[in-house]
Symmetry: C2
Subunit: 347 residues, 2 copies
């Protein structure tokens, strides 16, 4: 079989895995599109979702996996435990599904303090309760000291697709309105400040939170939602690029409508980061037909996690595959996908 | 909430995670029973299965997760890729279910050769094809050099419980016959020889293989099967202890009926290991009512992976919770669960 003989990624050009392969940006996509999809390829995998959807007795189930390698393990606003539970809940929610069950795989480094593991486990329990889901199966492995980094957690989840929902990154249409449920950059900046030891004047905390509640509210208003996506690794900029390529449409963002807290904006200036590329862990992008946008926005704003929600742009038939941002003075620039690794191990 | 205040494992006695917490033996059980079950506890988790079973529209689905940290990554007879696919297929099969879909979570260390990743991916593809299942969703993370050990893979799987099957470690009954589908110790000794650089006269290779085919054959004979279990970490000895405690029965094994290849027996003597405690990755233990044992054994022996299958013991109402082994000269001794970490990072 010739796929065995030749690695589909040219080894002379990319001899080893780099941190950028885990960034969620260009090299992550390279690995997925050149290696994983050709090898494992099937109709369900090819959808390009954060999760797969399959049917059991006519019922659609959503299925998604995520491993968490965040460093440091404890950070302002959360820890690797609630992050791992919320992250998989959110990927299921972005399939238009209600999360039901999670599995948990712990990979522990020899020497991890027992008390730290307990704090993480308690956070997972509380996050599961908050979102109304159950952790029903698990696995624990231990690696020798120096062969891991304290703790890695895989969470995999199953949810039931909400009746009538048809969500896919391929579904967005020219004219769609793009709603963002809150401020961007909080998670990435919280991690970065914890990692660098920089203390900002005001306390910036991770936005880690479950999105299933807000998704339920959206579907109470209408089933006519095209795309749901949480902008994690690679931030809003990378997520927008993925979606406009999947749907073969263009996206126009309006810079002055994108909510960024003054604290995050200030920290980004100090750290030389662009909030558009920074990971979020409790924010949702909603692509909805323009006619439905106002009632959906109102429903989101009524939810406790959505009071900073805003319309940040729209979808166009022009420049398919390209994201453009118009600035407050009316100029416009192209927003690319993340290249390199602006912030490794952010989740 | 007082569970937050006090770690349920006394920190003065167990201040940190040790390799033995990942061995599958006594300390692994300690972690699961004292920490994870009380924290995450629910009816599905409490079953004590390798997987959980839940219902969708009246259809029972089996759900199980496993992370693979085997070292070295490539070993005689396989690599971490086919091991990860087969391992989760086997845990689903041991729920009496037909595996359908897998998710894959890669945790890669910066610097992993691209060609090594490709070899692993090809093995996973081939293992999935062999077992007739699909890999439908995935995730990739990268950790910085020195914070991982080449590659860790999580696989999580979903299967449909075979109509009429009712498999649980709680189901074994006095009088049940215990069938083992082949020789023990092959996987663990293959890893150990690769790790230590010892070369044995004859080539010992891992038995990594999918068990769904053999489980299908068993259920063609009868649905009256009580327990199915693949004796991985901790080996046959530990698995037997788990089952007899779950079902509150005693187990009697007959030493001279347990198949061990002469090569593995010889290697174990050199390495000072007991084959009863060594991990297997393609063997199945079947607990079946005595009346059904002969046709089940015949069906297993007809399967290509089952030609060394044998009846190795039976279940008794005497000494509940205790595994005894009778030797060829008629004496009898207690077989305990694995303590410590005879072979860390075996899967």
């Amino acid at each position: 079989m010739d796929y065995q003989l030749v690695c589909p990624i040219p080894i002379s050009e990319y001899p080893v895995i780099t941190l950028a392969h885990g960034s969620g940006g260009v090299l992550s996509h390279h690995l997925i599109e050149k290696m994983f999809i050709p090898a494992f390829g099937n109709n369900l995998l090819d959808e390009g979702h954060d999760g797969a959807v399959f049917k059991v007795k006519g019922k659609q189930l959503a299925y998604t996996t995520d491993s968490f390698v965040v460093s440091p393990v404890f950070f302002p606003g959360g820890n690797i435990g609630d992050l791992a539970v919320n992250g998989t809940i959110n990927d299921i929610s972005c399939c238009g599904a209600r999360p039901l069950y999670l599995s948990v795989g712990f990979i522990l480094e020899e020497g991890l303090p027992m008390g730290d593991l307990w704090k993480i486990v308690v956070s997972m329990k509380e996050a599961a309760e908050r979102a109304g889901i159950e952790i029903i199966t698990g696995d624990t492995k231990v690696v020798d000291r120096g062969k891991g980094d304290k703790i890695v957690i895989n969470t995999t989840g199953i949810g039931e697709v909400i009746e009538g929902a048809d969500i896919s990154p391929k579904n967005c249409k020219p004219g769609d309105t793009i709603i963002l449920t809150g401020t961007i950059g909080d998670h990435g900046v919280a991690i970065m400040s914890a990692r660098s030891g920089i203390e900002f004047e005001t306390n910036i905390v991770s936005d880690t939170a479950p999105l299933n509640g807000i998704v339920d509210e959206i579907f109470k208003v209408t089933r006519n939602i095209h795309v749901l996506r949480d902008p994690t690794r690679g931030g809003v900029a990378t997520t927008m690029n993925e979606i406009c390529k999947s749907s073969n449409v263009g996206i126009i963002l309006e810079e002055n409508r994108i909510p960024v807290s003054p604290e995050v904006r200030g920290a980004c200036e100090i750290l030389g980061l662009d909030p558009l590329y920074i990971a979020n862990e409790g924010k949702l992008l909603v692509f909805v037909p323009q006619s439905e946008a106002d009632p959906v926005l109102t429903a989101i704003q009524k939810h406790p996690s959505g009071n900073h929600a805003a319309i940040i742009g729209h979808v166009t038939a022009d420049h398919p595959g390209i994201v453009r941002m118009t600035t407050s003075i009316g100029s416009s620039r192209i927003i690319d996908m993340l290249t390199g690794d602006q912030l490794p191990r952010i989740c």
